[in-house]
């Protein structure tokens, strides 16, 4: 039954409901595919029994004539940033190696309640800090895609690189991701899949290892817009345990999907036409405009004047929040402890953190500590928070002219692992188009558009008004229907 692994969320759920196959067959197929794909290094731990148990529960519910949940019988990958009860949760760090949560994150619990099962915990950039999945303590994740004519391992993007790699490789029908400054959208673009970051506050952050709390948002990654709509509906919802959780009803995004954009205005921000962007990316953007026009939308030029400053503001705000959030790793309450002979408490903290954090994490903690320190707080942190307000205001102004914004997701296609390691700044530039929507807390999605001349996927990004995930999904659906993108990487693993 290996062809069941070709199916996405909707097809699996509907097939299980209709009795075309059992959820157990699906889970067994994906468990086998995961086990055979260790070369991708997409998973840190696998949990085949979890997937089987959820499948059996779905099959039993069906046999008893009970109503099945929206994710019934769908085995998914869980980014290893979500606390999962009794299953190691590391954030791809050494400092949390062996950490065994005594509770379940709200988002993962919501997914299990909707009938999903877990194939395993997915690799990522350490503490979600990275854009290429090369900062994980558990090794790089390889993209299933390769540049035509080469065998070099390519980046699946980051930080949700295990998620993007596994979904593109068809070893998982869908996966959770988290997006702080592009960590769902950039990996989705690099691997030819869809991913949506909802409005800040839609998905609970309770039980998600914190990176930058004012930016962190969970979202689904899958191979179609419909699958993203279904899974986002299962993940989202008010949670009293998260002080920033939105106390709003979750719309039925799946039911309201419509690719008819008649009467909708699509904004094209001129500032996203940046130097250093691949010509193929600019071409795909033009194509995207044509597709949305064909779907009935009107294309309007807009301006987001502070776009250029979003990325540097992000690289002050995110490290500042991270330096504060990561202060909790002290070798006392959980995780690694390094206690050198004769060391006192302060020495133990410093030794533990030196041993437990990777280079990129240390770099960001130092930047964050510096910009928050006395004497520099105003010049850096406060200034960045003001620029953030201006970036958000740009979007607010744009909404008087358009309903949704179309832009590229990334300035380039995927690159070979190891090729951008020399300079952190070059790596940061990957997220130049993704970060503005993060700073403004807006729903944003990447959908695949086409392959470039190297045979690598390119993504298009849609950014919506606050709470208008539907508008983003609908525009994404219009692109999906016109691109007809169904390319899959050739299996080499």
């Amino acid at each position: 039954m290996s062809d069941l692994t070709k199916l996405g969320v909707k097809a699996i759920r509907d097939g299980v409901v209709a009795g075309d196959f059992t959820a157990r067959e699906v889970a067994e197929g994906f468990n086998a595919a995961v086990a055979a794909a260790s070369e991708l290094n997409a998973f840190i731990v696998t949990t085949p029994d979890h997937a089987l148990a959820a499948a059996d529960a779905a099959d039993k519910a069906r046999a008893e004539g009970r109503q099945l949940g929206p994710m019934a019988g769908v085995p998914i990958g869980m980014k290893d940033l979500f606390a999962t009860h009794g299953v190691q949760t590391t954030a791809a760090s050494h400092i949390l190696e062996g950490f065994n949560p005594q509770y379940e994150s709200t988002v993962s619990q919501n997914l299990w309640d909707a009938g999903a099962g877990m194939l395993g915990k997915l690799n990522l950039d350490q503490f979600a800090m990275g854009s290429s999945n090369e900062t994980s303590y558990f090794g790089n994740v390889a993209s299933p895609w390769r540049k035509a004519g080469t065998n070099a391992a390519m980046s699946p993007g980051g930080s949700s690189g295990g998620s993007s790699s596994s979904v593109a490789a068809r070893i998982a029908p869908a996966a959770t991701g988290t997006d702080t400054g592009g960590s769902i959208r950039q990996p989705a673009a690099f691997t030819g899949i869809c991913g949506i970051k909802p409005t800040y506050g839609r998905c609970s952050r309770w039980g998600v290892v914190a990176f930058a709390s004012s930016l962190d948002q969970a979202g689904p990654m899958a191979r179609s817009v419909e699958d993203c709509a279904i899974m986002l509906g299962a993940m989202a919802g008010f949670d009293p345990k998260d002080a920033t959780s939105l106390q709003m009803d979750v719309p039925d995004w799946e039911a309201a999907l419509s690719a008819d954009l008649t009467g909708k205005k699509v904004g094209i921000p001129k500032e996203y036409r940046m130097e250093g962007t691949d010509q193929a990316i600019l071409d795909s953007w033009e194509q995207g405009k044509a597709w949305l026009k064909d779907a009935g939308a009107e294309i309007v030029d807009i301006s987001l004047p502070h776009t250029k400053y979003a990325l540097p503001a992000y690289y002050i705000i995110a490290p500042a929040e991270a330096s504060s959030n990561l202060a909790r790793y002290d070798g006392v309450r959980y995780g690694l402890r390094d206690l050198p002979e004769g060391a006192g408490l302060q020495d133990m903290y410093a030794a533990t953190r030196a041993e437990g954090f990777g280079d990129e994490v240390k770099r960001r903690i130092l930047i964050g500590t510096y910009v928050l320190s006395a004497g520099f707080y105003d010049a850096y942190y406060n200034q960045a928070q003001k620029v953030r307000a201006l970036v958000a205001r740009d979007f607010e102004n744009a909404w008087s002219q358009c309903d949704v914004i179309l832009a590229p997701t990334t300035p380039t296609a995927s690159f070979p692992l190891g090729s951008l390691n020399d300079d952190p700044l070059t790596m940061y530039l990957n997220d130049v188009f993704a970060v503005p929507a993060s700073l403004a807390g807006l729903p944003a999605m990447s959908v695949p558009a086409m392959l470039n001349e190297d045979g690598l996927p390119l993504g298009l990004q849609l950014v919506g008004k606050p709470f208008d995930e539907q508008g983003v999904l609908n525009a994404g659906l219009a692109i999906q229907q016109r691109s007809g993108f169904d390319h899959a990487p050739e299996k080499w693993w």
Binding site: T199, Y334, L366
Partner: protein
Amino acid sequence: MSVDKHTVAKIAGLARIEMGDEELERMVPELNNILNWVEQLGEVDVEGVEPMSAVIPNTLRLRDDEIDADPKTAGGRRDDVLANAPAAEYGFFGVPKVIE
């Protein structure tokens, strides 16, 4: 503004991350590259702009005044709290001696 090795050592001390000479020296140009790049934010006219700390308008809620309303975040879970501690003894977190 730029940092030297002495400043990086001070920041690393504040952040409680032990760093040897070699690592400190490696960090200096890396951090300076990033700091020089974020310097461009100084060009932006922010006259009269309030710093933004919350992106989506939201009000802070008060929970019901009820003890242990949610068992997941309630008390009485000492063993769960200690389950992942690298050194837990007698129902407490163990740390090196802190008072002489």
